[in-house]
């Protein structure tokens, strides 16, 4: 199975994960600084900055696009409760 590498820059932890995994499933387990509110793409609490490898994340859905816009997110920002690892590339993220 294709595995991507997800690095949480704030705590220096990298995890190899199967494609399709949401960032939230990993970040809470490793204790990264990204935090969550609604956990379903509504509130924008989980904004994160993608430092590298944005192209290896799934495209934002309409739901995520809306919440990004509402929260005036910069263009390298994503919602960690929504974004999924899409392929085997390397992705580096940190809290917004």
């Amino acid at each position: 199975m294709a595995k991507g590498k997800l690095t949480f820059q704030d705590i220096g932890v990298s995890v190899s994960v199967p494609a399709g995994t949401r960032v939230i499933e990993i970040s809470e387990k490793v204790g990264a600084g990204i935090i969550y509110g609604c956990r379903e793409g509504d509130c924008g609490t989980c904004l994160m900055t993608v430092v590298e490898g944005a192209e290896h994340l799934s495209e934002p859905t309409a739901l995520e696009d809306r919440v990004l816009k509402e929260n005036m997110a910069g263009k390298n920002m994503r919602c960690a409760c929504q974004a999924q690892v899409a392929d085997e590339g390397e992705i580096v993220i940190k809290p917004a």
Binding site: K3, I11, G12, V13, S14, V15, S16, V17, P18, T21, I26, E28, K29, V30, G31, A32, G33, I35, Y36, T45, E70, N71, M72, P95
Partner: protein, 422 residues
């Protein structure tokens, strides 16, 4: 004493108070007591091209509000409806106001749009609105109102509105308090010092970070008059209250520990000493890391209130509880349920405890810590009955690892997805 006067009060040139008094209220938002009641302050600003209405009142006081409004203006003259905050105590009469003045233009902060939609539902499409940010203005001809975006004081939507010609700040809940007195002004009403601080501590305290950012925006204005949405209008020495917000946003503990040092608090309860032994070894392990000040507290000997001040200033929190009847013990939950008035987001957390056969407590506490937006970097320790020497070594290592994480000394880690599956 508070008599419900049915007349608007002119508080500045062409500015009227059209609020309502609620002397009988005894509990507000389920989180604070109001021994003196409260008021819902709303205002009208008159200009050459029409009037701006700033906020409304709690719905049950609508009649008083509309009656005051009608004494000083007509619905046709209302050009702007400015909503500093969409909580029902101020937005309660908005749906009816808009039905009566459907041509009026609503001004609400960008983060407030969702709340406005939730308030007006389908009716919103009948109205025009503008989303505001700091520096945006609403003109009434010769008079200008400008907006100051003050998010999270205490909702995402909150903003202040400034009337430049009078140097008058309509501050919403900011600088407000629950104090009900028909004499309206801070130099005439009873002693509301306690109410002012109490309000801050229950409403604004979790958002200190945002309070300080807001004060950076408000201080340069040097307002001559502050008209909040609750309690006295601050005309005597208004800047004193701005200063107060700064002071109250600092730590409540008088002496700071060295700012370069991280504070790690370990709380525990123990019936037969097993969880207590774990706590002591975690404490010893954590204490090996330089730059981390570690403290150990047995919750049996503590009161919640002072712990909250301590927790507010701490960087890491560990909770130890045995599993009793499938749960963590109540004093632990009591502490964890009392953190509503402070910010816990981003602190480091962890849990540990001894158990007999099922050991639910630790994972339940960890979930709660994550719910409080804390990060839990190490899997918490669960140990059956009294820990062995080896297990106490594990406790030591756990304490050390957490202190390293706190001090930013944790070594980079490479993990596999499978390692994380429990």
């Amino acid at each position: 004493m508070a008599r419900q006067e049915l007349k608007p009060v002119e508080i500045a040139n062409g500015v009227h108070w059209v609020g309502a008094l609620d002397p009988d209220l005894r509990m507000f938002d389920l989180i604070l007591k109001t021994a003196n009641g409260t008021s819902y302050n709303a205002y009208v600003v008159h200009g050459g091209e029409g009037v701006a209405v700033i906020d409304t009142v709690k719905e049950e006081f609508s009649e008083i509000y509309f009656s005051k409004l009608e004494q000083i203006t007509s619905y046709e003259r209302i050009k702007a409806v400015i909503l500093n905050h969409l909580e029902p105590d101020h937005a309660g009469a908005v749906p009816e106001l808009m039905r009566r003045a459907p041509h009026a233009h609503i001004f609400v902060s960008t983060r407030g749009l969702k709340l406005l939609q939730a308030l007006l539902k389908d009716e919103l499409e009948n109205y025009q609105y503008t989303l505001t940010d700091t520096g945006d203005v609403c003109s009434l001809g010769e008079r200008t109102l400008s907006f100051i975006n003050t998010p999270y004081l205490h909702w995402p939507d909150t903003q202040c509105t400034y009337l430049e010609d009078e140097k008058l700040l309509f501050s919403g809940d900011v600088f407000g308090c629950h104090f009900c007195d028909d004499r309206l002004y801070n130099d005439l009403v009873g002693d509301f010092r306690f109410s002012f601080e109490y309000y801050f501590k229950h409403i604004m305290r979790p958002f200190k970070r945002w309070v300080l950012e807001a004060m950076d925006k408000i201080e340069p204005l040097q307002p001559r008059l502050i008209a909040p949405a609750h309690g006295p209008i601050l005309r005597d020495n208004p800047l004193e209250y701005v200063k107060s917000y700064r002071t109250l946003s600092n730590s409540y503990l008088t002496k700071k520990i060295d700012a370069r040092e991280k504070s790690l608090l370990i709380f525990y309860m123990s019936a037969y000493g097993a969880t207590a032994d774990m706590a002591k070894h975690i404490h010893a392990g954590a204490s090996e890391i330089e730059g981390v000040r570690v403290s150990l507290y047995d919750l049996q000997g503590g009161e919640i209130e002072p712990f909250i001040d301590l927790i507010e200033g701490a960087d890491g929190l560990l909770f130890g509880s045995p599993t009793i009847n499938g749960d963590a013990v109540k004093p632990v939950w009591d502490v964890l349920a009392s953190l509503i008035s402070i910010e816990t987001r981003g602190k480091l957390g962890g849990a540990f405890g001894s158990y007999g056969w099922s050991g639910e407590a630790v994972r339940m506490i960890e979930d709660r810590l994550r719910g409080l937006k804390m990060r839990v970097p190490e899997r918490g320790l669960r140990m059956k009955f009294h820990p062995t020497e080896d297990e106490l070594e594990e406790c030591h290592a756990y304490g050390l690892a957490l202190a390293e994480a706190l001090a930013g000394k944790a070594k980079p880690k490479e993990l596999d997805f499978a390692d994380l599956q429990m």
